[in-house]
């Protein structure tokens, strides 16, 4: 299970990516408010990489509580969101975690999706989607595996699709069984 990356940080890297990956490309077209909130991660940027205890990757970016981002996010690094994100998140080979303080209004495509906060938008996971007890989701969920803790609130369609067999390169293709998302997409509210 994902753990919030709060441990040792290379404090001298304000925009640090300890494991800079050439494929990592978080795009933040409109950065509305990039105010660091004194989180344990020392990075002053909206997206900061931090070491992670998660077994899937050591390349984790974090949007801390208090930060707001509007725009699209894409790339291959794992992403932890504890702030506000509006737009589109596409990390097909990575894990996206919405922390307890995270508020996301976006479609999310990722290999693994973990939600403990609030999401409004359709979710497509290539391998798994997990909803914690504090999660609040409005939107459809398409994933080969779905885990839901008691107390989770989900409004929308839940659909499982077969996981891609040979590689993890195209999890979105795995949802080809999914004939449409329209019924649920229409059910998504944007109050």
């Amino acid at each position: 299970m994902w753990r919030k990356p709060t441990e040792v940080q290379p404090s001298s890297q304000p925009y640090a990516s300890p494991n800079p990956s050439p494929s990592r490309s978080e795009e933040v077209p409109k950065s509305s408010s990039f105010q660091p909130q004194g989180q344990q991660t020392p990075s002053a940027s909206s997206l900061s990489a931090s070491p992670s205890s998660a077994p899937v990757s050591s390349n984790v970016s974090k949007i801390s509580s208090g930060l707001k981002i509007q725009g699209d996010v894409s790339g291959s690094a794992d992403l932890y969101i504890d702030g506000d994100v509006t737009g589109k998140i596409r990390l097909s080979n990575a894990r996206v975690t919405i922390g307890p303080n995270g508020h996301v209004q976006a479609e999310i495509e990722a290999r693994d999706i973990v939600v403990d906060g609030s999401v409004q938008g359709n979710l497509k996971a290539g391998e798994s989607a997990r909803f914690g007890s504090s999660s609040r989701v409005v939107g459809s969920v398409v994933s080969p595996r779905i885990g839901i803790d008691d107390g989770a609130r989900l409004r929308g369609k839940i659909e499982t699709v077969r996981a891609p067999q040979p590689s993890k390169s195209s999890p979105v293709e795995a949802s080809s069984e999914s004939d449409d998302l329209s019924p649920v997409a229409s059910g998504v509210k944007s109050e």
Partner: protein, 232 residues
């Protein structure tokens, strides 16, 4: 879809722990309150052959219910309509409280409230679902909202589709949520009360409520809960 109800022997549903049955192991501890549900059995019999059938669960989302349906190839939609209703009412009250004197149109009538609620609830295309699990939510909606809710569900259900609803024969002592354990067992989960029991429906009232459905069947358990199955 033909509606040939199969006779059931001993339709009474017990509140005791269900005997061991084939199928997925219950996610709940053994002491959980399981209820044998003939209504669920019939519901599944009705929609079981539909490839990629779509089911709408109007209660909270539970892992066991999700797993049950997706394992059978269904697509499940979930909308906790009772909580949404309560949140809506709370929001409306808050608006009234914070509105300045002379601002707005004052308190809405129950029918207007119900209409307003349904503008944003259950917003799916017509005939989206082959089955709807309504549980006992109609007991908790007022006399204005319940018929409107049924009207909306009527439009959402595919012809031949089914709605499973539960009705208490006396005011429920506790507020429960429901989740599926296996094909004939439902688990009642005591929950904090989010809505007070509004009314007890008589048989005729239940039939009138679902008058647009072409057939119905009901089972009364020893706990005096009536499981009603309606086919469109």
């Amino acid at each position: 879809m033909s509606w040939t109800a199969k006779p059931r022997v001993g339709s009474a549903a017990g509140a005791a722990t269900a005997p061991s049955k084939p199928g997925p192991a219950p996610a709940a501890p053994p002491a959980a309150n399981h209820r044998v549900s003939n209504g669920l059995k019939e519901f599944l019999w009705l929609i079981g052959d539909i490839p990629k059938g779509r089911v709408l669960d109007l209660g909270p989302v539970w892992q066991s219910t999700v797993s049950f349906f997706v394992d059978k190839g269904f697509r499940l939609s979930s909308e906790d309509i009772l909580r949404a209703w309560k949140d809506f009412l709370t929001s409306e009250e808050e608006k009234l409280r914070t509105a300045a004197v002379g601002e707005g149109n004052g308190r809405l009538s129950p029918s207007a409230l119900a209409d307003k609620f349904l503008q944003n609830a259950l917003d799916y295309p017509e005939k989206s679902f082959h089955g709807v699990l309504a549980w006992d939510l109609f007991d908790y909606f007022d006399a204005e909202a319940a018929p409107r809710l049924v009207d909306r569900l009527t439009s959402l259900v595919h012809p031949g589709g089914a709605v499973l609803a539960l009705f208490h024969s006396r005011p429920a002592e506790r507020f429960h949520r429901y989740r599926i354990v296996d094909a004939q067992t439902v688990e009642l989960l005591p929950a904090s009360t989010i809505a007070v029991h509004s009314r007890v429906f008589q048989n005729r009232e239940i039939l009138d409520l679902f008058e647009k459905f072409r057939s119905s069947k009901s089972f009364v358990g020893r706990d005096q809960v009536r499981e009603a199955l309606f086919v469109k």
